[in-house]
Amino acid sequence: MENVVEEEKFPGHPLLPYLLILPSVAVIVVFLVYPFLQSVQESFFATTAFGTKSVFVGLRNYGRLFTSPDFRASALATLLFAAFVMVVGLSVSLAVAHLLNQKLRGRGFYQIALIWTYALSPAVAGAIWALMFAPATGFVPYVVAKLSGGYLMNWMTSGNLALLVVSAAATWKMLGYNIVFFLAGLQNIPEEFVDAARVDGAGPWRTFWDITFPMLSPTTTFLLFVNMIYAFFQVFGLIDIMTQGGPGDATNILIYKLYRDAFLYLDTGAASAESVIVFIVISVAAVIQLTFATRKAIYAR
């Protein structure tokens, strides 16, 4: 996104723009930036739970995290989780949006019937999926047991299964949102392009890959970014309701680990260091995504 040069529409009001952006900037500085800087500062200290003593330890908190198998496991779980949400989420949503992008009767109904999961909160999604997969009484383990001749699907004892179920629940909740954006993106693709390809004799797959997908790249990039932020930061409620990080830290994704370290174990130093690390990771990923997207967008044009 480049800064387009806008003209001065109302000359003679030098202070006004500053006043207009002041509330937003004030909130951002006071409630977002300043606390984050404090987090950064606290990451270089070891502090007692009650704040009675604070010792400067330099990079020790960071060193400990990087050498800690728990942190590495948490990071891995987070990456797997985020990758699932992003890749599976976007693929499925794109397929659905593509299907929806036809002149069909009842299209309005289908639209609503497919996007409404967006209105659910992660916590609600977590509660419902926890119900479905409850080992002793849930519907899905029952079906699986019937189909497989007795295999007891117990996600409270299988870390991998728990991570999978949690990822599926999180992805399910975001489907609605992704579908809306993909549908909008698809509808913005001029029909002439698609028709031209068809006239040229290209089948539906080729049309999709050569024309549709590249033209969707701004939407795709945007959704990748949003889903990444979602997977990293907004699923806390889901994890807290479903697994509380378990079994045995299998679903202890970074944001949950951060909560545990800060609020359960009262270890401010470690939690602050984790915050900073997560911030850096997300920022790097965002920058990569953006440069990649800009390049692709230029190419598509």
Partner: protein, 275 residues
């Protein structure tokens, strides 16, 4: 049937299947919310409804005082959404209609704040609330959410598509910038405002971690935390029937908002993705 009709039928079939699959979890939750406590623990689990829906809803409502939960959550969802919208409109207006020093910082600023979601600053933000004496208050619940970079970008995008002659005409008529903003720009942004309202309302209604930390008492609790309390029933097994009844009731307001504003929501999104 013609090939086109075949294709249409196949599409319908596929879409119906998708609708069913996506809706299944909630359908199952709905069934469970109609059962008695013992019935939720039968094996094999049943898929046909029972008769206890009303009782379960009442039970859930009373157990966590849902009336109060709804009140608090509605206040913060509507309140924060509106304030965000207004602040975003103002900021986007400034960035698109004026040239001033510091304008180049917009984009980096909004990007950076996207990467500073609550978890990376949660303890210091809480302590800030304590310093302001805003713990367990509406201010504490809402203030950190008042800046919306999504909103600023959304409106900025839209304002850039506003025809150049509109502000010019306003100026010629003797209107100042604020007049123009309030009388012309805001009404024209109706669709985007509605779209942003849906997004922010749903976002606020879903808030979990921040209300968990910043509120202490039952009278300031939000719906999501109420649900958590309904589920974490300590020494006894979870009463899924009551929990699901509560869950479904708690879903309704954001669903209603989404469905009521769906046209504006879809249009607003479409406008955003159009380049």
């Amino acid at each position: 049937m013609t090939p086109r009709q075949v294709k249409a039928s196949a599409s319908h079939a596929a879409l119906i299947a998708l609708v069913v699959v996506i809706a299944f979890p909630v359908f199952y939750a709905l069934i469970v919310s109609t059962l008695t406590f013992r019935q939720t623990y039968v094996y094999p689990p049943r898929l046909y409804p029972g008769t206890e829906l009303w009782n379960n809803v009442v039970e859930a409502w009373n157990r966590i005082d849902m009336g109060r939960l709804f009140f608090v959550t509605t206040v913060i969802s509507v309140g924060a959404a509106v304030v965000k919208i207004v602040l975003s409109l103002m900021a986007a207006f400034a960035y698109t209609h004026f040239r001033f020093r510091g304008r180049a910082l917009l984009f980096p600023m909004t990007m950076v704040t996207q990467m500073l979601p609550l978890p990376v600053r949660i303890l210091p933000t809480y302590e800030l609330m304590a310093d302001f004496h805003w713990v367990n208050t509406y201010s504490g619940l809402m203030f950190p959410f008042f800046a919306s970079t999504t909103g600023i970008l959304l409106f900025r995008q839209f304002f850039l598509t506003v025809p150049r002659d509109m502000p010019d005409a306003a100026r010629v008529d003797g209107a100042g910038p604020l007049r123009y903003f309030w009388d012309i720009l805001v009404p024209v942004s109706r669709t985007n405002i509605a779209a942003l309202f849906v997004i922010e309302f749903i976002f606020m209604w879903s808030q979990y971690l921040w209300p968990l930390i910043v509120t202490n008492t039952a009278d300031m609790r939000v719906v999501q935390i109420g649900l958590k309390m309904l589920i974490a029933t300590d020494q006894i097994s979870p009463a899924w029937n009551v929990i699901m009844a509560g869950t479904i009731v708690s879903m309704l307001p954001p669903l209603v908002v989404l469905i009521a504003f769906r046209k504006s929501f879809a249009e607003g999104i479409a406008m955003q993705t159009a380049k």
